[in-house]
Symmetry: C2
Subunit: 275 residues, 2 copies
């Protein structure tokens, strides 16, 4: 029996699904992180582990094609290096942003705003996907969890310096993290996921500093959506750990739809297209 393998891999974990030609999922698997830009060897290892688990659960069979949506797939050289480690006859590798869009919209036109540890924005028109953002925290990832966490910490330091008002949230963060020096020390070792741990309390807070950070985040989201929609009035799907919170906050600005499926569904769709 011909099987199709879908992989959804990001900075926090990697999921695999095996489906038959009709799209029925026969087996699933999971493993650790699969960001092929920041740790390519570990990513390949986790992808193979998750795939092996899914294939075993499906009871065996030949993989006709694999579709992989992976964090870091847009970094130079990253996908070429990965392909050498993968045994399947046909392999399509795209960013996890692309598989998220395919899963979320299916065949429909629409805009996708994905807000997790990172952020990415995309539009699909007649099956063609255009993606913007998704560049990582150093140069982009506006409105992501990591961006929100980093921005609120920078704001705490600015408040210490007197550039803006000290608020209860900022004072609490300073206290918790050992003052300005502790925040600087944290920033030197923090990865995007570490900054993102601060986001939930910012997103739900009425603190003036949190409100200011979220206004900036929402403005970044609105700018990206406007750029992608152009003159159309496409519906917007919010994805990711912070997607629901942003969808609620921005419900009056856009027509918002629920996602049709997951990034793993999108990866399986990619595999069937690759076959």
């Amino acid at each position: 029996m011909q099987l199709f393998l879908g992989i959804d891999g990001g900075g926090t974990g990697c999921r695999a699904a095996v489906a038959d030609v009709a799209g029925h999922v026969l087996g699933r698997g999971a493993a650790g992180p699969a960001n092929i830009a920041s740790d390519p060897d570990k990513a390949a290892e986790n992808i193979l582990a998750a795939a092996g688990e899914a294939l075993a659960a499906a009871g065996g069979g030949a993989v006709a094609a694999a579709g992989l949506g992976l964090a870091g797939a847009n970094a130079a050289g990253a996908t070429e290096r990965l392909r050498e480690a993968l045994p399947w006859p046909r392999v399509a590798v795209v960013t996890d942003g692309i598989t998220a869009v395919k899963g979320a919209l299916g065949p429909d036109d629409g805009v996708v705003v994905a807000l997790g540890t990172g952020s990415v924005f995309a539009v699909q028109r007649a099956g063609m996907i255009r993606q913007i953002g998704g560049r990582g925290l150093v140069l982009g990832d506006e409105a992501s969890g990591a961006w929100i966490g980093r921005t609120v910490l920078a704001r705490a330091l600015r408040a210490v310096d007197g550039f803006s008002d000290m608020t209860p949230l900022l004072a609490g963060l300073l206290d918790e993290m050992g003052g300005p020096d502790g925040i600087v020390a944290f920033s030197l070792r923090a990865r995007p996921a570490d900054f993102a741990t601060l986001a939930p309390r910012v997103v739900t807070s009425g603190d003036p500093a949190a409100v200011a950070v979220m206004m900036q985040a929402e403005a970044d989201v609105a700018e990206a959506v406007a750029l992608l929609r152009a003159s159309d009035d496409l519906p917007v799907v919010f994805l990711g750990g912070l997607g629901t919170a942003f969808a609620k906050r921005m419900a009056e600005r856009f027509a918002i739809c629920a996602a049709r499926g997951t990034a793993l569904d999108g990866a399986l769709l990619l595999a069937r297209e690759a076959a």
Copy 2:
């Protein structure tokens, strides 16, 4: 003979000077980087090497006190750890920003704007120094060389996405660095000094993107100076590799003075104060 030891250590190198009680410099030394937050062991090693060279050049004698101005000295725990590695009876450790201010202003009131790989802003009033900024590139260092380099790269990616106009400078950077993927890959491995290598061509460019980045940088400098001056009209001293360029650009906004001395002069002054 009682000697005073001054150390000026930053991300690119470490300089030492030994002076007598009258302030005459008797010997000098130099060694590699001394950022005690990002690489404390290497910093201690380079500080001791530079000091040894300066003491040997001075022909020997007992160090009565040492004054150290070091990058990263504001990070939590950094100075405590360093002190254990230093053999001198009295040791004062401050950030390289503080010694730069002491050297630049001597006993005078004034504002110091230091713009190198990082940035820091300070005011001295009646011998008391208040410093702001200097938090590192992740959370601050606005208008620094690293900030300018990172900002222009982020802008190149935003231009690719269509958020702003593509300009000759941005197109040139994209071409040189392997397109958006190459820039993202660079950003994942780049240290502040790597970003800062891009700053000189931005500072001197008439390219619209460079002009926009520099306007933002100058606005950040002006905001910091205004905060530090409060209602006074203190003169401003620009320091660091980008100091001259910014002083020229901002000459109409402030009364600008030349520095009286270097950060190493400030470190020697700190050593005499510590004795």
